[in-house]
Subunit: 222 residues, 6 copies
Amino acid sequence: MTASGRILVINPNSNDDVTKGISEVLDPLRLPGGPDIECVTLSEGPFGIETQEHVESVTLPLRRTVVERNDVDAFVIACYSDPGITVCREATSKPVFGIQESGILAALSRGERFGVIALGPQSIKRHLRYIRQLGLESRLAAERPLHLSVAAAEEADAYPRVLEVARDLVGEDGADVLLLGCAGMTRHRLPLEQALAVPVVDPVQMAVAQALTAVLLGAGSS
Amino acid sequence: MTASGRILVINPNSNDDVTKGISEVLDPLRLPGGPDIECVTLSEGPFGIETQEHVESVTLPLRRTVVERNDVDAFVIACYSDPGITVCREATSKPVFGIQESGILAALSRGERFGVIALGPQSIKRHLRYIRQLGLESRLAAERPLHLSVAAAEEADAYPRVLEVARDLVGEDGADVLLLGCAGMTRHRLPLEQALAVPVVDPVQMAVAQALTAVLLGAGSS
Amino acid sequence: MTASGRILVINPNSNDDVTKGISEVLDPLRLPGGPDIECVTLSEGPFGIETQEHVESVTLPLRRTVVERNDVDAFVIACYSDPGITVCREATSKPVFGIQESGILAALSRGERFGVIALGPQSIKRHLRYIRQLGLESRLAAERPLHLSVAAAEEADAYPRVLEVARDLVGEDGADVLLLGCAGMTRHRLPLEQALAVPVVDPVQMAVAQALTAVLLGAGSS
Amino acid sequence: MTASGRILVINPNSNDDVTKGISEVLDPLRLPGGPDIECVTLSEGPFGIETQEHVESVTLPLRRTVVERNDVDAFVIACYSDPGITVCREATSKPVFGIQESGILAALSRGERFGVIALGPQSIKRHLRYIRQLGLESRLAAERPLHLSVAAAEEADAYPRVLEVARDLVGEDGADVLLLGCAGMTRHRLPLEQALAVPVVDPVQMAVAQALTAVLLGAGSS
Amino acid sequence: MTASGRILVINPNSNDDVTKGISEVLDPLRLPGGPDIECVTLSEGPFGIETQEHVESVTLPLRRTVVERNDVDAFVIACYSDPGITVCREATSKPVFGIQESGILAALSRGERFGVIALGPQSIKRHLRYIRQLGLESRLAAERPLHLSVAAAEEADAYPRVLEVARDLVGEDGADVLLLGCAGMTRHRLPLEQALAVPVVDPVQMAVAQALTAVLLGAGSS
Amino acid sequence: MTASGRILVINPNSNDDVTKGISEVLDPLRLPGGPDIECVTLSEGPFGIETQEHVESVTLPLRRTVVERNDVDAFVIACYSDPGITVCREATSKPVFGIQESGILAALSRGERFGVIALGPQSIKRHLRYIRQLGLESRLAAERPLHLSVAAAEEADAYPRVLEVARDLVGEDGADVLLLGCAGMTRHRLPLEQALAVPVVDPVQMAVAQALTAVLLGAGSS
């Protein structure tokens, strides 16, 4: 371990722009004397992760990356499907965080019932299966789909649609905390928070914050 | 908000030694240029919080402290019963974290089933009620009592008993992550982690880390 | 214990009219030779209990009342938030009943799924947290808000709005038994029952009936 | 409805001694000017209800009794398997109470986790199925078998075995309220309560108390 | 046991046309050299099973049939309320299948969340109670009523209404597999499957298929 | 579709002896005129599937096999971890069955609470996560480990250990139906069933039986 430690954030898709966007939203977590936060692109990954095949295609490349970079102090897998999280945890004694899991856990201390802004119906199905696996379904208000692609959801002009879905999660489904259901929607976080007066959680930031905590406290470094 | 923000950690009991001990274990979370972490003693609190009457006796004093100190950026209530957490959240738009809630949420990303090392049967009863309220009972392996007082559990010579209970949580109950069920057991964390090869979570550190995250990301500061 | 026993019903708000109203609806439970049912106002209480701060402000005064009046045979806390129920139970070996808990338990033997007529969204949030704590969420059809104050909900002219909400709970949410989610709506019980042909449960009456049972059977008198 | 109302308690087995025993333990609920409590034997019933066949054999005779005696104000089916409860409820607008359901609901307001003293493993299997149907399994500590027949469990000399099982429910399983899992064990209630310092609930008394409440409040009389 | 075994399918209502219809949809499960599938009418049954009284009226006649025909290798009770399933299982060591239970279990391997096309609100109430008893409610999307009688639902001209309800289960409630909630709707299965592109499960076929499996593998024949 | 259809059973490990053993236990499901049941070895698979890495290593090869062999009518993945089941289902409109899922669903109609005979603690952890994902944990009695390798568990001389674990599942954990938690333990099924008088379910046979049913009824053939 270096003096202050290192966190490796792996973007499982091969889109360098996404990696760059992820890195930018992590700036508030880069502290003087704090752990180094490095964001890398999984070159073997698909351009976007939209299907279960995409998910499966990155599990072993992610594991290989974890094994090769096992000199860092914590890992974050920066895709909302948490691909390969179990196999990566098996491959290292260092903590590994997935952004969906970390995002939901963070949301649970900011509200009674969380609502998720998802891209589409297929991802909702995948998420619900995972939420049941995590045993956390009793606090879910609802997931609602944007019916947008990853790329479109990241754009500034997606905001009206994002707001509409967020408003329904709060007004119709009773959510009092919202979770962005994709790695690339951080730009909408503060505007939503201001418009709706409920906390809005960005899962990438939360997973990296959990990694930061683990590094600062020395978890898994033994 | 100051440049880097401030976190107020409130020890709800009136024992200054406990406050001092809490402050020491937070040193790893005090970062150059990062938020200030201030630990205060609730002078109106009982010397230790062991009964429901003790819990109720601190809820409104905690609320008053939150109102008076609303210039900070986040609050942590540093007693494992999470006393007054709801009323404090009602009193401020700043995030408020309770150490039991934060500790359990942190444990959920480090193992499949968490075990809690508790002081005694009465506190277990209170915790189980709260875990059901949080909707998180499906991941609980078990709570087991030390049959020790708060003061005794903090001492170095409590370690053999703490280890015995921890071993049963892992071996008998199937826990693969442990949670220290009291604000003052931090000194046992690393020895347990090394002895049993499972992550051991200190709830005070985790709640303050969540507060740190919130401050760094600007939650609730709007 | 006197020959037939005594039940103390404590109205945690300081509104004597409410106490008087509560006492009136308990007349059917005042039996010749049966336990005495005394209704008292908590003078330290707020005029109405609408916030978590109001809830917390009465827990220790309620406890004090329980300790001072421990010569009675059973206690009822007559506010739908069941404030202070745990601390009061800790303070006495006599049974203590809360009207929300007793109301829900009574409803569960009168229908498959219960619907609650609540005052507003904030109280629904508080109730849902409590229902999860009680482990009874699987039988909840829904809670729906009147968007009325306590005082307004008690008035005869609130009936059309109460009926509208009740009708939605039955027609939209599938409730087949209804629960009045406030201590002061008893006057609407029979009209609703006749209009909708489902049982309608008044929680104050049910908590006092449970206390009556406990006294008649000698619970906690040992 | 007569002035004060009538409750019909039906013992579904044909053993008149059991009916007589049931009637005796209901004396505390027979109030001057209060509802009449009549206990009848189902002559078509088996001598004891121990198998599912026994259960099924009484459902329609119970229904016929309910139809024939529909001039009373409430019914209680006094067998812990709650035989025929659904079909009887379908047959009348008067409330019908089953002793298992009423006993569990009563226990839930007297402790956090209830333990049941059952006759044997087969009845436990039947009860667990029913508890799941009621959606109340999250509060069950455990059921433990006496390995005794109904007749034997009622005898005074069964007490040491009953106490042993009760002690295990409290000490091993964490129950803090106990439920007698059979209509005929009332004589053990107070001794158990005194020996173990936890509330002990007799289900027959509780179901009749619920019926009493319903009659006093006029439920179903419209 | 004969060389290839025998399955007895019992239609608990006395309508021979229904029995005939059931037998026809089982033709694909009648294999050369495979078990014989015999469908019989319970002559003591009501003409249709629509109430709880109807359900109870067939439990002991079903048990008698099972005892008399215990030379077969497996039994199927062909009514969606699964009447008498527990008492029949008690009466024989041969496997007994109920069509609701088998239908739900089959649906669970064909989709994430199942939707049930039911006849009316009363049967939905009965089904939900049973689904809770089976512990399978977490995968239920919804049940929706046709508001049709058994006889009407079986007719070809019921299809538009069946399709409408099925479409709502998929579109509104998120079901991705559908279950026909009555023994006589098989004719709608394939058209629905083609119209909605989700699997549609006929419960009679599934229960008999489970019986077929049990017979082929020798379950219970020892 | 050929006249009678074809089922492809894929053994995801590369051990041909296992494939051969699987094929043998399927003989009772090979019916004259019934679907053809072909068992193939996944040549890319590891020799045994014991870790999460092994699981991940076969998901895409399984998907490729499903795509290449999409002319068959149903697929079975014959490893108890159900590797790749979601991605295979995404890749075909034909039904795909996993042996753990099918085994559990089959067990649920043969008993109240199922017990699983697993190889070791690591596989139990994986299974429990999956059982939660399936929403079926409420009927699980327990899983217990053999502490044996796959190869050892298949041998005749493992029977005493298998019987010991099975006996504990029934006697200590209250299971009334058992499930073999591995593809290769079929030989122990009948001896266990005879020794313990509870149904014992072989998951491979059950998944193939579900496939057989689907083919016979024409599921997914549209």
